[in-house]
Amino acid sequence: MKKCYEKYFRDNLPQIFCAGCGNGIVMGAWARAMEKMGLDNNDCVGISGIGCSSRITSYIDLYTLHTAHGRALPFAIGVKMCKPEMNVFVFSGDGDCAAIGGNHFIHACRRNINMTLIVINNSIYGMTGGQYSPLTPTGHFATTAPYGNIDPAFDLCKLAEASGATFVARGDIYHARQLTDLIVEGHRHKGFSVIEVVSGCPISYGRRNKIYGAPALLKHIKEHSVPVATAAKMGDEDLKGKWRVGVLYKAEAKEYVEAYQELVAKVQGGIK
Amino acid sequence: MAYKWEIRLSGTGGQGVIKASVILAEAALIDGHNAVQSQVYGPESRGSATRAEVKISDSKILMPKVVVPNILLCMSVQAFNKYAYNISDGGLMILDGDIGIGEEPPRVQVHRRPIIAIARENMGDELYANTVALGLINKIASLVSDDSMFESLERNFSARLLAANIRAYRLGLEAASHL
């Protein structure tokens, strides 16, 4: 086993993920990012909500908090405010983050609190067996969209940027090395970093959308991923149905824990 | 169970009757009595009928609300219409200006003073009417010592507003003796 896996994974096998699930690739990319950053397990907290991707916290060897559906970010804010020195990683899925946790998501972005959110977007509710999520593309099929999904999908990265996150990137499970780099860059950025990972669920999404098997799904993702530099030269029509991958947005803004600490210093120093 | 003083201050939201009740109750505590203060108000912060209540006693005060007051202040016509006929026999009723002329309930001592006008003309702001009313009520009923009232005013107003409110309180004391 790779050294970084030994260091950052718990000996907690077998995992619940189906064969061909993208979650393993994301976990691997995250572990390699941890190794690159040289982070100590004892300095890190992993927090997740509910869903397949949220099960990652039981397999990574940090202080881990597997919370309720959609609620990982408020828990993470509680932890980070009390332990600013800790590195906080939040793992979420498209349903967990963009539907039930959507309000917490925009407010965490708005606060620009220094932590890293990894949203594994497999375009479906996998754990409950394949219902459409706010990131399921219009026209695609799910158990609850048997005639095709009529809901427009969120662009989670645009939502993050508009809400105040200061690092927004999108990776995908085909380009795993790039994903590692995005996680490193995102985590090193001071502020709230959002990394959407285009992933695949061959069981609940692929089969229903005529993409049979994990290799075909990986190929599908590869073919629909466009690096931001390339995308910049393409027109809107060409980009339809494609994912722009890479660092999408980066900005400097006041970080929340720091803002709070400054407030405390001001109150303790001045006002009586 | 009747307590020594069961006071109801009523008026319109924004007139400061709740603030006045807090100052009175705290003054009673400083004086060594027991006191409780409560209020009833609607969801809006301005314009609705407001009432605040204070109970003062030397025994433990259990039920906190005033059912039948023996002191009633009405600072608005709506408050008079709502509360004027619920006061104990021999109770004190303090009314602003011309409120309720010709409709005074029987067996009640009525004291009528232009509270709001005093505040407006002497302090330049009707907002001081609540503190003027406190001086007036305390002079008429001798609820607490003036020293305790001054300490309570000090506790409940910022340094910026204290001097003006002490002045307003004294205006209330004076108004009690002018007929």
Partner: protein
């Protein structure tokens, strides 16, 4: 009288939390609880603590649980609609055994109802609001000083039993201002969660060998890297669906509170032992009840008062014994008989029980209680 102050119930609640050592508050504004948040917003930065106004009550609960994982004594405050939203994560805190305190300043319901008026309508919700199998501690104070002292007790019980504690105030007591005075040099007794003494590798956050059923709790950052999950879990904290593991875990979790009811329960009694008619009331209504009982006793009637301060866990044996030999029991509350229903369950069927109820936002007055007693005399 320099130490004597007039303090509002909601403010006394915040002061009690600070005295208990709380350094973390997260909440969402809601009438009639908002003064608690406002007081904490002023006080916490002064002591280097954390005050957060979250996007809703669900987030507030999440934040206090997260903070508690790091060892902070954390609480939130709300009223009915917010309390309803919090239920899922109250269940999470119960399931994961994370100490926290939830203040509910009750107002009438359901839904928005009467936001500025008083109620005791959340008594059963405090007990059963979240789904599944759990127990809970709920405290209902009756005076401003009791709010302060019991808030300290609430944090102590949360830490001692690794559990969420519900602090059930009501609008009447929350907005009441009353005498506040602490004894000279008052220092509260503070209980902190038991920390593990085991080696890092063998720490079992949900171990089942403690005599009182409460495992030691490591804080994030202490070096014990462990897993917390709302899934049913084994002693290590990892998901398990093995029936025997699940059964043991749930029964220990419930038992640690229900089996320690004698340690947790608190009452006040006035002539309750040898009276004919027993009046039971709690929270602000207990003040009317005491006034009614004292008035009737002065008139020579054989009436007593029993005031539970801790409503949950329900002390079945205590109530059963307390009601033996009574001619009748009267339970007065600002709801449709939520606690009366519980009392009825444990009182001998031969003893009549009068449930005095009020749901219009008006207070229960002493005369209402006197009338109810006279009905059953």
């Amino acid at each position: 009288m320099a130490n004597v102050r007039l303090v509002q119930g909601n403010v006394a609640c915040a002061m009690g939390a600070l005295a208990a050592g709380s350094t973390f508050y997260a909440g969402y504004p809601i009438t009639p609880s908002t003064e608690i948040a406002e007081h904490m917003a002023v006080a916490l930065p002064k002591i280097g603590g954390i005050f957060l106004q979250m996007e809703d009550e669900i987030a507030s609960m999440g934040a206090i649980i997260g903070a508690s994982c790091t060892g902070a004594k954390a609480f939130t405050a709300t009223s009915g609609p917010g309390f309803s939203l919090m239920q899922e994560l109250i269940g999470y805190a119960a399931m994961t055994e994370i100490p926290c305190v939830i203040v509910d300043v009750q107002r009438p319901g359901p839904s928005t109802a009467l936001p500025t008026l008083s109620s005791q309508g959340d008594v059963q919700q405090a007990r059963w609001g979240c789904h599944g199998f759990h127990s809970i501690i709920a405290i209902a104070p009756s005076s401003i000083m009791e709010i302060y002292y019991q808030m300290i007790n609430a944090f102590n019980l949360a830490e001692k039993y690794r559990t969420p504690v519900i602090f059930l105030m009501d609008e009447e007591i929350g907005h009441l201002r009353e005498r506040f005075e602490l004894p000279d040099n008052y220092k509260p007794e503070i209980i902190n969660r038991k920390k593990p003494e085991s080696d890092l590798e063998v720490y079992l956050p949900y171990i089942n060998d403690q005599s009182n059923g409460v495992p030691p709790m490591a804080n994030f950052g202490d070096g014990y890297r462990y897993h917390i999950s709302g899934l049913t879990h084994n002693e290590k904290g990892f998901y398990s669906s093995v029936p025997s593991v699940v059964d043991t875990e749930i029964r220990r979790m419930v038992g640690k509170i229900e089996d320690n009811v004698d340690d947790i329960a608190q009452f006040e009694e006035i002539g309750a032992a040898d009276c004919d008619i027993l009046v039971i009331a709690y929270g602000s209504v207990a003040r009317s009840a005491q006034e009614a009982v004292e008035t009737m006793r002065a008139d020579g009637l054989s009436v007593g008062l029993l005031r539970p301060i801790v409503l949950w866990p329900f002390p079945t044996d205590y109530f059963t014994k307390a009601c033996i030999g009574k001619k009748a029991v009267v339970v007065a509350e600002m709801n449709l008989g939520q606690y009366a229903r519980e009392i009825r369950r444990v009182v001998h069927t031969d003893i009549p029980l009068k449930s005095l109820t009020r749901v219009d936002g008006e207070f229960v007055y002493p005369d209402d209680i006197i009338d109810a007693v006279k009905e059953v005399l």
